[in-house]
């Protein structure tokens, strides 16, 4: 079955859009073929059912999802604050190794994963502490977990670069037929092409597709903000020169929380 929200991006850390290959051509009508989007331009497509009520339901579900993701991101700073306080309290109590895995048994999942990764980082002494070397002379951990986290964080940055700092194509299909496509610039400028025969109702649905795409794009950037702020927060637990290395670890942490939210949504 074709996913409702699909994107040509390889993954969606927010969990709303399913990955789909970039099509070589897009059908605008039965038997018609239109030129594909320019190479490397992310496409966001919503495949809607023909039934208006069901289509409405799709967007209502997405609205619920946005609210949950936003709530989860809002909660991240407090959770991290709490974690940092606990760890500092342990340090003050005389626990020599702040990231000792044995001390994590009572922490919930994302927190314990985060501390494991931070421990990996802390085992690697920075090469240099001189001013201006933040990006240039630190040694990365070599554990597989950290390397995975780093690869995923790199992928997020690449995705934001593509989606936020350039333009995207947003398409709406109803019953498999394309009714509209919009080219949306980084600054919000939009050029929309409609099928002449599109009804008012169908136009309204594409408008909602555009909103979902725009909010997803924005939310991805907000995800980065949350991660960067979180990395700054956990820096207090680390040696100088380490904040950059905390980014992949915190990113993993936030993604784990979002995964939990999705699981909860699925269960409910």
């Amino acid at each position: 079955m074709m996913p409702i929200f699909e994107t040509t991006e390889t993954s969606d850390p927010l969990g709303l859009w399913a990955s789909a290959p970039q099509p070589e051509s897009v059908h605008f009508g039965i038997g018609d073929e239109a030129p594909p989007p320019p190479p490397d331009v992310p496409v966001f497509r919503v495949n809607l059912p023909g039934n208006t009520r069901s289509a409405d339901q799709v967007f209502e579900n997405s609205e619920t999802w946005f609210k949950q993701v936003n709530a989860a991101l809002n909660h991240v700073p407090n959770r991290l604050e709490s974690l940092v306080s606990q760890m500092q309290a342990r340090q003050a109590a005389g626990n020599a190794v702040s990231f000792d895995v044995t001390s994590l048994q009572n922490e919930p999942g994302p927190e314990s994963d985060l501390l494991r990764l931070l421990e990996d980082v802390s085992k690697n002494e920075p090469v240099s502490f001189s001013v201006g070397d933040e990006f240039g002379a630190v040694r990365e951990p070599i554990s597989q977990a950290w390397q995975n986290a780093k690869a995923q964080f790199d992928a997020l940055l690449a995705q934001i670069n593509r989606e936020v700092l350039h333009f995207v194509w947003v398409e709406t299909k109803i019953n498999g037929q394309m009714i509209a496509r919009s080219e949306v610039e980084w600054n919000g400028d939009a050029t929309t092409l409609w099928v002449e025969t599109a009804s008012e109702e169908q136009k309204s649905l594409h408008h909602r597709t555009l909103n979902v795409a725009a909010r997803s794009r924005n939310l991805k950037l907000r995800l980065f903000v949350t991660v960067a702020s979180g990395a700054a927060k956990v820096t207090t637990l680390m040696a100088a020169g380490m904040p950059m290395l905390a980014l992949p670890a915190v990113y993993q942490y936030v993604v784990s929380i979002l995964r939990q939210v999705k699981q909860l949504q699925t269960v409910s």
Partner: protein, 670 residues
Amino acid sequence: MSQQLFLNGINADTGGPMDGEDVVITTEMIAKVARGQKLTPEDLRDAKMRKALDDQKHEHFGVAEGIDDTNLAETGWSVIFPAALPQKSVDALKEALKPLLDLRREQASAQNETFYKEVIGPELGVKNGESKNDFLKRFGRGPGPADPVKFPYYALIVGSPETIPYTFQYQLDVQYAVGRIYFDRLEDYYQYAQSVVAAETGKIKRAKKAAFFGVANPDDKATQMSAKYLINPLATEMKNQYKDWKVDVVAPEKATKATLASYMGGKETPSLLFTASHGMNFKPGDPRLLRHTGAILTQDWPGPKARVPIKEDLYFSADDIASDADVFGMIAFIFACYGGGIPKMDNFYRQAFGSQKEIAPYAFISQLPLKLLAHPRGGALGVFAHVERAWGSSIQWEGVQDDVETFDSTVDALLNGKPAGAATEYFNERYAEISTMLTEELDNTTPENQDDTKIAGMWTSNNDARNYAFIGDPAVRLAVGETETPKPEREKLGAIVSQAPAAVSGAAASFQPDVEDRTPAAQAATSGGAAVNYGLGDLLKKPESAASTDSAPTAGSGLNESLKNFVEKLGNYLSKALDDATSLEVSTYVADDLNTVKYENGRYSGARLRAMTRINIDGDTLVCIPEKDGEVDTALWNIHLEMVKSAQENRAELMKTIVGAAASITSLVK
């Protein structure tokens, strides 16, 4: 019929005309200004007298009959200070300028000691607000040609235009050869003085090379006019007349910032440089106002239709003069709005609209000429440039387009060895002639019978001619020779220029250059935009000492590089977003047969554009409304409006998040 006029100034924020989108300057408005700005009876008498003398003889201008205006022993030379300048500052300035004052004293007093004058102190110096005629009365002079027995022909003003106003300079310039210098640093006076002395005593000679740099930005009538009708004929004339000179003409397509750098201190630097372009203009409060006003907008600017805010990579400012620039002995002519400086109040607005408009925290000289003059490796000798707006009408007199005789004659005079102050007398002649004509036209006709176009043409040409100012000692002349001083020798001499004696360097720290210390006013005036720094990329720059280790690979280079790239992009995005997001555009197309539709260059071809909304940041909105069978297509229009609203909301949200991202990165790297 009222006509629109073109002037050479561009507002940095909007990339549009400096008077704003809503202000189109017409002949009608100028005529209104002209009617309210007749000469005072004394100035008119002076202008008329000047015109009568000009009509009688063509060899000598401001100076009395029988006097050789190229010989300081016959013309005299004076230095003029503000009356209220503290004695300590006067002493420091005299010490810094001593090499120049000694030279001019020797030259000017060769036949008559009184031909050299230092106009200094509460009794003699220029008093705040006094007219040129009141000033000359102290020396027994009224209107009329310069008589060095009473007051020397060459006059160097040492003071800011706030203390000795530009209007004083313009009026004195009608009959005298006037120049001005004013630097913030005492060492700069010394460096300039030494540079002039080196040139005047033949120690430094440049090759006989001139360069004409003409910008013609796309869709911009002002610069297209100046490139075609000013730069081209001037350069052609010079090539034809002066075969022993090498003349470089920089074609518009090559008139970029990088090219200008090679002519302003780089390897192509000539002895005479002539530029024609727009000059930069900034809103009060803009931190660039004091540093970059009058900077030369180069061909890199895509033109007014692009409507892009103008950043520093599009113009050449004082900051672009290299520390090792080779400008020693050069003279430059900068045709651009504010190229020479800016008054505090905009005279045009006051006259046209009846209200004051402050355009600068105080009147000042543009930094580009000052930086050229005071260069520590040897300074330029002088810069002839425009104060306030430069009008295209100075090269288009009553529709005669190729009317550049004034410019041509000035260049001729310079090339023939005349001192700059005398060479530029052609502009004073033009000013005297036009202002007389203008005043007579206004006196002899009633407003209802006046031809707005004619009066506007006279007024703008009059202002153009009047507002050229020489920055530097007016007695300097081109320092050229058949043999150029070899570069190593020039560099050696240049190095000496900046070696100020202890008396100068010792006084420099406590030096107060003007009657008032204007630093707080400048800070207040420019504090509006100074606090915000969106240059995220700068956070990533390593100190120079660490730069050498850049190439050494580190284990963390993978993450660091991707993050660095991301942050740089984000920084660039932020700058671009905040600068360029001046409008939001939403377009709606429809097509019957969508398989024929192609997306190219931001537009759908093969589809019909049915609705378009463009909202400018200032609130101006342009809309194209869809029609169907002669009626507004309400259904399409409604959905279009919904999409405009969403686009606005999404942009606002995105900008907010991006600023948040910038802040979070800053907190990481601080």
